[in-house]
Every structure is written in structure tokens, then in C-alpha cells.
């Protein structure tokens, strides 16, 4: 009888000690990561290793015509080479009722650490014809402005974004 009690209490002790140790370890392990739990980064935040630049003087000289050249500057501010940088440039209207967005894509195969390059885009900045039955922009007293948004992404998750608002 005494041996059985010893066996039972020994087994219970072993089980509880193991469970307690695991809980303690889990507790120690989660402490720092809970402190580090922050909300998802806001969309406006870009990875600091990739930088995009849009020349405002060049933007100011663009005309509402096809074939407008805009060079997008891309800088690798990090210490490692970045490969397969996908650039997506979107030209859209401030009037969100219009489905007139135009997309342009380019890829940079390799950008060395601390390197900089410019990528030319040839944009159609002409305004699409608006039918008489589909011009709700007449609600706004101002002509809708053009928006140029450039995103850079890599398969490794590095990204950057710049948005230019053109005068109406």
C-alpha cells in the first residue's frame, strides 16, 4: 500500500514538475515578444533600405499628353545587394468614380548596396473621354487632379512607396 502511494505521488510529482517547467519556460519565452507586439505598420511606412525619389521639377513639367517621360530614382540604402525590385507605377484620377487608372511596370534585376539608379517610365497622362452619362465629377467645382503612385517591392518583402499629386 505504501509503495503504491509512493509510486502515485512520484508519478504525479514528475508530471506536474514537467508541466510546471514547460509553463515557466513558455512564460519566459513570451515575455519579450509580448512587449514587442505592436500594431501592423501603417501603410505609409516604407522599408528604410529601399528609397524612391520623384523629381518635383520634372513632375511640374509633365503635360496631360501621352509619352511623358518620368524617371523614378531608386536607392538601396542598405548594406546588402537587392535583387528583383519590381516597380509598379499607377496613374489615376482624384475622381474615384472614374475607372481610368493606367499601370506601368518595370523590374530592376540587381541594385548593389548603397547603389542608386533611375528607371524611365513613359506615361500617358491624357485624360480619358468622359461620356455625358458618367461625369459625376461635375459635383466637384475643381477639375480632378492626376495622382502618380509608385511602389517598389522585392520577393524578400522589402518595399517603398511614393505618391505624387499633380496640380489640376
Amino acid at each position: 500500500m505504501r509503495e503504491a502511494a509512493l509510486w502515485i505521488s512520484g508519478a504525479a510529482f514528475a508530471f506536474l514538475a514537467t508541466a510546471g517547467a514547460f509553463l515557466l519556460l513558455a512564460n519566459l519565452g513570451t515575455g519579450p515578444s509580448e512587449r514587442n507586439l505592436t500594431p501592423n505598420p501603417r501603410p505609409s511606412e516604407s522599408d528604410p533600405t529601399l528609397e524612391l525619389t520623384l523629381n518635383e521639377d520634372r513632375l511640374a513639367s509633365l503635360k496631360a499628353l501621352p509619352g511623358q517621360e518620368l524617371r523614378v530614382g531608386v536607392r538601396n540604402a542598405g548594406g546588402e545587394d537587392i535583387s528583383d525590385i519590381h516597380l509598379v507605377l499607377e496613374v489615376s484620377s482624384e475622381n474615384t468614380a472614374l475607372s481610368d487608372a493606367r499601370y506601368y511596370r518595370k523590374t530592376i534585376d540587381e541594385l548593389p548596396a548603397r547603389g542608386f539608379t533611375t528607371v524611365p517610365f513613359y506615361l500617358d497622362l491624357s485624360s480619358p473621354e468622359i461620356t455625358a452619362s458618367g461625369s459625376p465629377s461635375a459635383l466637384s467645382p475643381d477639375p480632378p487632379r492626376k495622382i502618380i503612385e509608385v511602389r517598389a517591392m522585392t520577393p524578400g518583402g522589402v518595399s517603398a512607396i511614393k505618391t505624387a499629386i499633380m496640380p489640376g
Binding site: 514538475a17 505609409s44 475622381n95 461635375a138 495622382i147 505624387a164
Partner: protein, 398 residues
């Protein structure tokens, strides 16, 4: 055996210790709303309710105050007041001018189903939309509508209907859109705005009457008896801007007048006037100051305060003010720094509890392109966006 119990006790202590956690109560903060923490140029209290491009207007809080509906480039959307996705209620070719909640799940929309935007002389329709009716399912419930207002107690809808070029009539609609009552007493003129009295028994109408020049009248319409009378006639060339607002201290309305000849401009100036239904004698609204230029007004849910968008004088920046009608206390609740606050008659709305006012504003337009390090959907002051402005006052603590 003594060792066995000691071991059990130690293990239990270990278990309890393992379950305890110093930061157990720490909650993970929610994702910030677009632009949260960014002073939009309206003062530190103003918080954005929307972001991104689009010509926005006509904000309307849901009855529970948890969502806000508004127009964007003519179509209607709503979104949670906190964080959450925007929900579209109409197709993008819709031209809505106003949207009002009739319940937490349904909207009535004043406008036309497809463009182009109608002129002032063209009557609109009223459409009903329900959130649970699938994709963009709206139903036209009234045509030839000149103006609308939520019905007494927020139930149903009062609409002014055009019966001829210069004749109008009122009708009461249920939430379903079914006609509850058509008032046979016609109004000699074109109703341009209407709102209800605080007790919901009467409506005040702004009426453009026929004549060689612009001429406006104010009418009071008894919704039980179905009769109406004229309480004020404005001088020739004066017009009522937006819907008159029936407060606990009388009826307030914005009067527009052309600048005097030789004044160097054609921009109309607007004054805030008041009249009581019984006196019929309009006067400048006490408390706002004689140089004040009013643009749009909205009475608080309890009728005791008036939200006013305007300027302290013609050269001052546009701000949002709240007038406590009993105390005649006029207080600015925004501190405008290079923002354009929209001044349309429906571009401001009280929250149901009277604690906040929604307005629409954007930064001053630039002649030069400017570049932002953010996606267009996250931009605030570059486009007209909605802002919630907390206001103090007697209703704030309720």
C-alpha cells in the same frame, strides 16, 4: 509520504507561478485609424474619419453613432467610426447629394441614379438602400423630390415633392419607402430645404416663390393638421441657403445676398438670421457677431445648439463654431491652419449624442506637384476628407 506531499505542493506552486504573468492585463492596442495622431490642420482634437482621394460630402452618423455614411464623387459609402472597411452602397455612376440613415441598417439617398449631375432646377429622386440586401441593391421610392428630412423621431422620411413648376406638396414616407401620408395642402413655390421642429410636429420650409427676381419665404407646416402658413418673406435678391434649422430658440437660417455694386467682387455674403414662428420678424442671430459670414448650419439633436461653419469676418479663415442658443455663447471648435473646410449645406453633421460634429476639409490646393511617402489611400489633407470634431456643451456628458 511527507516527501510526496511536499513534492505535490511544490509542483502546484510551479503550476500557479507558470500561469501567472506580469503583463497578462496588457492589451494589444488596435491599429490606428488612417492619419491618427496627425494634426490635420483643424486643431489637435479633430480626428480623421476617412482618407484618400475623392470628393467627399454629406456626412451622416448612423442612429447608434457607430458608423458614418457620406458621398464620394457622387456614390455613397459608409464605414465604422473607428477602424474598419469602407462599404459602398451605390454604383459609381450614381449622383447622390445627401444620404440619411433611417435605421442602423438602411439609408435613404437623395439624388439621381446616374450622371450627369443635375442642376438646381431639376428635381431628384429618393432611393432606399439596406445593408443586408446584397450588392448595391437600391430602390427608388419617390420621384420629383425637391428636399427631404428624416421623419419625427428619426422614423420615416418627410419629402417635398414638385407638383408643378412653382408648386410643391409634402409627403410622409415610411422606412420601407411606402407613402404614409400625402398632404393635400400645396405650397405655392418651390421647396428648397426643410427640417423638423424639435418636437417633430411641424416642419419649416424654405420656399422659392415665383417672381421676376429671386424671392424666398419661410413656411411652417403642421404635420398633424396638414396646414401651413408663411412666417417670413425675404427681400428681393435674398435667398435662403440650405435647410432652415428649427432650434429651441426659434428657426435659424442662412441668408445669402449679393455684394453691393462696386464692392469689387461677386462673391455672395451670408448672414445667419433667426425668426420665431409666432413673431415672424427675422433678426440677426444673437451671439454670432455682426461681421460673421455664415455658410452652413445644423441644429444639435436636442435643439439647444447650432453648429455653424463660417468666418468671423470676411477675411478670417473658415472654422466650425458652436452656438449655445440659450447662453448665446459662440465658440470656435476648430483652429484652421491652411485648410479648406467645405461649406455645402449638408457638409456637417452632429453625432447622435451631440458629442461630435463631422465636417469635410482638405488642405489648400497647390499649384505645384507635391510628393508624399505614403500610398494615396492613406493621404488626408491632400483630398477632401471627413473629420470628427469633439464639442463640449450640455449634451457632451450624456
Amino acid at each position: 509520504m511527507r516527501w510526496g506531499w511536499a513534492a505535490l505542493l511544490a509542483a502546484a506552486l510551479l503550476l500557479v507561478g507558470g500561469c501567472l504573468h506580469s503583463s497578462e492585463e496588457t492589451s494589444i492596442p488596435p491599429l490606428p485609424a488612417a492619419g491618427e495622431g496627425v494634426d490635420p490642420g483643424l486643431g489637435p482634437e479633430a480626428q480623421p474619419l476617412s482618407s484618400g482621394p475623392g470628393y467627399k460630402g454629406s456626412p451622416s452618423w448612423s442612429p447608434q453613432g457607430s458608423r458614418i455614411a457620406f458621398t464620394v464623387d457622387g456614390y455613397v459609402v459608409d464605414r465604422p467610426v473607428g477602424t474598419g472597411d469602407t462599404r459602398r452602397w451605390t454604383t459609381k455612376d450614381f449622383v447622390a447629394e445627401e444620404a440619411e440613415w433611417t435605421s442602423d441598417g438602411s439609408l435613404v439617398i437623395f439624388g439621381v441614379a446616374s450622371g450627369p449631375a443635375p442642376t438646381h432646377e431639376v428635381s431628384r429622386s429618393v432611393y432606399r438602400a439596406r445593408s443586408g440586401e446584397g450588392s448595391l441593391g437600391i430602390k427608388e421610392v419617390a420621384t420629383d423630390v425637391l428636399a427631404m428630412s428624416p421623419g419625427p423621431g428619426g422614423e420615416g422620411l418627410i419629402v417635398a415633392l414638385q407638383t408643378s413648376a412653382y408648386q410643391s406638396e409634402l409627403a410622409m414616407l415610411r422606412d420601407s419607402g411606402a407613402v404614409d401620408r400625402i398632404y393635400t395642402s400645396t405650397v405655392g413655390g418651390r421647396v428648397t430645404g426643410l427640417s423638423l421642429s424639435p418636437d417633430g410636429r411641424r416642419a419649416v420650409l424654405a420656399v422659392r416663390v415665383p417672381g421676376a427676381r429671386t424671392s424666398f419665404e419661410l413656411h411652417v407646416f403642421g404635420l398633424r393638421a396638414g396646414t401651413h402658413r408663411t412666417i417670413a418673406r425675404l427681400g428681393e435678391g435674398l435667398e435662403i441657403f440650405g435647410a432652415p434649422q428649427w432650434t429651441k430658440k426659434g428657426i435659424c437660417y442662412v441668408v445669402g445676398k449679393e455684394e453691393a455694386p462696386g464692392g469689387g467682387g461677386t462673391e455672395p455674403l451670408y448672414d445667419l438670421h433667426s425668426v420665431t414662428p409666432d413673431s415672424g420678424v427675422p433678426e440677426s442671430t444673437p451671439g454670432v457677431g455682426e461681421d460673421f459670414v455664415a455658410s452652413s448650419i445644423r441644429v444639435s439633436p436636442d435643439g439647444g445648439r447650432l453648429a455653424v461653419i463660417g468666418r468671423l469676418n470676411p477675411k478670417a479663415p473658415i472654422n466650425l463654431y458652436v452656438l449655445d442658443l440659450a447662453a448665446q455663447d459662440f465658440e470656435a471648435v476648430t483652429t484652421n491652419e491652411n485648410m479648406e473646410i467645405k461649406t455645402g449645406p449638408d457638409d456637417l453633421a452632429w453625432s447622435p449624442g451631440g458629442k461630435s460634429i463631422a465636417i469635410v476639409a482638405r488642405g489648400i490646393l497647390s499649384e505645384e506637384p507635391h510628393v508624399r511617402a505614403a500610398p494615396k489611400e492613406a493621404l488626408l489633407e491632400d483630398f477632401y476628407n471627413l473629420y470628427e470634431v469633439p464639442v463640449g456643451g450640455p449634451e457632451a456628458g450624456r
